[in-house]
Amino acid sequence: MLTKRIIACLDVDGERTVKGVQFADLRHAGDPAELALRHAASGADEIVLLDISATHEQRATLLHTVRRTACELFIPFCVGGGIRTLEDAARVMDAGADKVSINSAAVSHPELIGQIAARFGSQAVVVAIDARRTADNVTGCSGEVMLRGGRQSTGLDVLAWAQKAAQLGAGEILLTCMSQDGTRAGFDCAVTALVARAVPIPVIASGGAGSPQHFVDVFQHGHADAALAASIFHFGEHAIASVKQTLATAGIPVRWPC
């Protein structure tokens, strides 16, 4: 049976892993290559490395970090952040990524999705969407696509954009619900379900993981195909093993033992 994936995310600034609470107030959490291997050994199904560098110098360093991380990592490895062109994607793939995640560049240049898919295959293209919930009513909820860490509105409807991304050749959607990100208050199951039930490709839920039960909720009520978290894994709280054991007890298929 296909299992639900638990994905460990590393937010990387140059050579360092950091993690923000609602994208601010960053804390140091070690070397990305070392952390990636540690997460893989402790049961992560996949690693996402998200470049949050602000400068060109840091971005150049990032490729070195990707190369070092990929070197001994024998589970799927996705790299995102700052990928704006096919050439950016190719550099990251050449450095050892299996997939790239694209966010704002896909919004401004949707054809980039198809370009990367044509060169590397749809399975290599993850479209990351930062969503802000905009309405709740009897028929459900809706959300707006946000950019620049939630600081910029687009006016785009989350569901419409996710469906378009799938049509254009995305292999997966990485859906981060902004109101939850870094809060550890749980995933936004309503927005996740809205997208996951409507698109024909897998949806990775992100934003808000704080306890093993939150993962149960996002699979049972959010209908996610995978769930991503960062800080709760880095600092040794709620190790991936305990998340997977909680999921297995709830009857959700997971890869265990790894």
Partner: protein, 196 residues
């Protein structure tokens, strides 16, 4: 020396890294002469089946067919395994090797596609490729087209259909999943291929 055939389809560096980690002496090559001299041939591949038409254009297809016919061990990974069939509905008219009957099919609409993630290998019979791999072991898949269950299967996997996840016949081997991305289980399978 093992040849990892490069025909411009996606990213094959991870296959090379994993094989080297298993102790293989290998070379990524797009030259028929280098493939001709190789003791083993690995055909990786991600993405679209249409990319395999480059094998015919470059002469690699003919070289691979000739070498496999004289007993050189061959491992096809993902699209590389799909190429072992006659063809694929993903790219009608592009010929595979034809070692296995039939064409790859797309997953039915009731399943999310691509099939992405860790799924299980239900072993069908004992094999050299999966020796020492436990029944129901988890491996990583990412594909939109599949090989239907057939006579050459050594493992099958359930994902809305029952698909062939590993095949073995004499010196030809194929895996639909990515052993290079399947952790210790995947490395074990690559080491088994190295030992053949």
């Amino acid at each position: 020396m093992m040849a990892i055939v490069d025909y411009g389809a996606g990213n094959i560096a991870s296959v090379e890294r994993a094989l080297r980690a298993c102790g293989a002496e290998c070379r990524v090559t797009s030259l028929p002469d280098e493939v001709r001299g190789a003791a083993k041939i690995v055909l990786p591949g991600v993405g679209n089946f249409a990319a395999t038409q480059e094998l015919a254009r470059s002469g690699l297809r003919q070289t691979i067919l000739e070498r496999v016919a004289v007993g050189v061990p061959f491992l096809g990974i993902c699209v590389g395994m799909q190429w072992m069939l006659e063809g694929s509905h993903e790219a009608p008219g592009v010929a595979g090797a034809g070692w296995l009957a039939g064409h790859c099919e797309r997953f039915p609409h009731n399943a999310k596609c691509p099939h992405v993630g860790w799924n299980q290998l239900a072993k069908v019979r004992e094999s050299r490729l999966l020796a020492g791999v436990e029944d129901n072991a988890f491996v990583y898949f990412t594909h939109s087209y599949f090989v239907a269950a057939g006579a050459g299967d050594v493992a099958r996997t359930d994902y809305s259909v029952v698909l062939s996840s590993a095949v073995e016949r004499e010196n030809i081997f194929g895996v639909q999943f990515h052993p290079e991305k399947s952790g210790d289980v995947g490395l074990k399978i690559l080491r088994n291929f190295l030992a053949i």
